[in-house]
C-alpha cells in the first residue's frame, strides 16, 4: 500500500474532517474518535481509491458512514426533532453575535446542518453534496437556502427580509 500517499492524505484532510465530525457529533472527543475510525476504514480501502484527487469527498463519505453506523442507531443525547421555524435566539448582546450564531448552528436540524457544513467547511458543490447525501441536487439547494435564511432571520432579520421566499 502507498503509505506515503496515505500519510499525505491524512495531513491534508484531517483538519477539515475533524471540523465536519465535530458538527456531526457536536462533541470534540467523539469527533476525534470519528476521524480516527474514518481514516482506519480509509486505510483498509485505500487501494480502491483510484483517483487520488477525489480523496476529499471520499473521506467525507467514509466519515459520514462511520457516524451513521455508530451514532444514528444510538442517539444518546442528540435530539433533532427541531423544525427550522422553532429555532429561536435571544437578542445578542454586544460581541455576542458569534456565540448566538454558534448556538443556532448547534440547534439547526441535522438535515439542514449537514449539507450546510459540507458546503461551508468542506467547500463542496451542490452536486458533490447531493452525491454524498444521496439526495437530488435540487433538494440540497433547497436545504441550503432554507438553512441560511433561518440563520439570517434570527441573526439579522433586516437582511433576511431581502431573501427570496424560501418556504
Amino acid at each position: 500500500m502507498d503509505q506515503r500517499g496515505f500519510e499525505s492524505m491524512v495531513r491534508t484532510h484531517s483538519s477539515d474532517l475533524y471540523r465536519f465530525a465535530y458538527w456531526l457529533s457536536r462533541d470534540k472527543h467523539l469527533a476525534q474518535d470519528l476521524v480516527q475510525e474514518a481514516f482506519s476504514a480509509a486505510w483498509k480501502a485505500f487501494d480502491s481509491l483510484r483517483d487520488k484527487t477525489a480523496a476529499k469527498p471520499w473521506l467525507f463519505s467514509i466519515l459520514r458512514n462511520e457516524y451513521a453506523r455508530s451514532f444514528q442507531r444510538k442517539r444518546l443525547d442528540i435530539q433533532d426533532g427541531v423544525e427550522l421555524e422553532e429555532l429561536s435566539v435571544s437578542v445578542p448582546a454586544e460581541g455576542q453575535e458569534r456565540v448566538e450564531l454558534e448556538n443556532l448552528l448547534q440547534a439547526l436540524p441535522e438535515n439542514y446542518r449537514e449539507p450546510l457544513m459540507l458546503q461551508v467547511l468542506g467547500g463542496f458543490s451542490g452536486r458533490e453534496i447531493a452525491q454524498m447525501l444521496n439526495i437530488t441536487e435540487q433538494n440540497v439547494m433547497v436545504r441550503l437556502t432554507r438553512a441560511r435564511h433561518a440563520l439570517r432571520r434570527l441573526v439579522d432579520p433586516e437582511q433576511a427580509d431581502e431573501d427570496v421566499d424560501v418556504a
Binding site: 500500500m1 503509505q3 496515505f6 500519510e7 491524512v10 495531513r11 484531517s14 483538519s15 475533524y18 471540523r19 465535530y22 458538527w23 462533541d27 470534540k28 472527543h29 467523539l30 469527533a31 476525534q32 474518535d33 470519528l34 476521524v35 480516527q36 475510525e37 481514516f39 482506519s40 486505510w43 483498509k44 462511520e66 453506523r69 455508530s70 451514532f71 444510538k74 444518546l76 453575535e97 458569534r98 450564531l101 454558534e102 448552528l105 448547534q106 457544513m117 458546503q119 461551508v120 467547511l121 458543490s125 451542490g126 439547494m141 433547497v142 441550503l144 437556502t145 441560511r148 435564511h149 440563520l151 439570517r152 441573526v155 439579522d156 437582511q159 431581502e162 431573501d163 427570496v164 424560501v166
Partner: protein, 258 residues
C-alpha cells in the same frame, strides 16, 4: 440573463457562486450586487463561527492516526506472511494443483498435515489476546489527557451507563473522575476514569459481545473483561495486580439486572 429572484435564490444556496450568469446579473443590478456582498459577509461570519466552535484539532491526532495505520499494516503483514507460508506448504504437499499425477495417498497425507497445522494455528490464536483487549489498551494509550480530568460525575450517570449494558452497580466504584463516550471499533462506548481502592483504572462499557477473555498486557497496561448481558465491562489498569483485584471486586459489585 437570470432575474433577481433566481439570482438571490442561487446566492442564498451558495453565496460564493461565481457562475457567469450570476456575475452578469450582479454587474447590471446594484441592489442584488449589494445583497450578494452582505451575504458574502454573513458567509464569512458563518465560516469563522463553524471553524472556531470546534477548536483546534489536537496536534497529535495525525500522529495517532498514522501510528494506528502502521500497527494495522504490521498486523496485516504478519497475517499475509502466515497465509503465504501456509499456501506454499499446501502447494508443496498438493503439487500446486498443476500436476496431474497427484496421488490419493499424497492427498490423504496432505490433509492430515493440513489439519495438524490448522489445529496448531488455532491453538496459537486462542492464546493471543482478544482484539478488543488490544483496542481498549490502545484507546487508553491514545488519550493520555483523560488521566488529568477531574470532572464532577453524578452517581446516577454511572448507574445509567452500567444499566445500558444490563448491569447494576451495588455500592461505589470509588471516585469517578470522568465519564465520557468514545468510539471504539465502530461502537459507542462509555469511558470512565475511576480512582478505586485498588488504584486508578479506566473502565470501558463496550456494547455488543459479552467478552470473558483472559487478561492481556501490553504498552504498560493490562486489560481484563467482565461479561454483561448486553456487552462487556473492560478494565484497564497500569498493573496486572490492580486489574486482577479490581476485576474480582467488580465481579462482586456488578449485578445482572433481571
Amino acid at each position: 440573463m437570470i432575474d433577481c429572484k433566481k439570482f438571490r435564490t442561487q446566492k442564498l444556496a451558495d453565496p460564493m457562486c461565481r457562475d457567469a450568469a450570476v456575475q452578469a446579473h450582479a454587474e447590471h443590478c446594484p441592489p442584488c450586487a449589494q445583497y450578494a456582498a452582505k451575504l458574502e459577509q454573513f458567509e464569512q461570519k458563518l465560516r469563522c463561527c463553524a471553524v472556531d466552535a470546534c477548536g483546534d484539532m489536537p496536534p497529535d491526532l495525525c500522529e495517532r492516526i498514522l501510528e494506528q495505520t502502521k500497527q494495522s499494516s504490521a498486523a496485516g503483514n504478519v497475517r499475509a506472511a502466515r497465509q503465504s507460508w501456509f499456501t506454499a506448504l499446501l502447494d508443496k504437499l498438493g503439487g500446486g494443483g498443476t500436476r496431474t499425477w497427484f496421488a490419493p495417498t499424497m492427498g490423504a497425507m496432505a490433509m492430515t498435515l493440513v489439519l495438524g497445522v490448522a489445529g496448531l494455528i488455532s491453538f496459537n490464536l486462542s492464546n493471543t489476546p482478544s482484539p478488543m483487549a488490544r483496542s481498549v489498551i490502545a484507546h487508553v494509550v491514545s488519550e493520555p489527557g483523560i488521566f488529568a480530568l477531574r470532572d464532577q460525575v453524578p452517581a446516577n450517570a454511572v448507574q445509567l451507563a452500567f444499566a445500558q449494558l444490563g448491569g447494576a452497580l451495588e455500592g461505589s466504584l470509588g471516585e469517578v473522575h470522568h465519564l465520557g463516550t468514545c468510539m471504539l471499533e465502530g461502537k459507542l462506548v462509555h469511558h470512565l476514569l475511576v480512582e478505586t481502592p485498588d488504584g486508578e483504572a479506566t473502565l470501558m462499557l463496550v456494547p455488543g459481545e459479552a467478552l470473558d477473555a483472559g487478561a492481556h498486557s501490553e504498552q504498560g497496561y493490562t486489560a481484563a473483561f467482565i461479561p454483561l448481558p448486553k456487552g462487556s465491562l473492560g478494565i484497564v489498569t497500569r498493573s496486572e495486580d490492580t486489574a486482577r483485584k479490581l476485576k474480582a471486586r467488580l465481579e462482586r459489585s456488578v449485578r445482572v439486572q433481571s
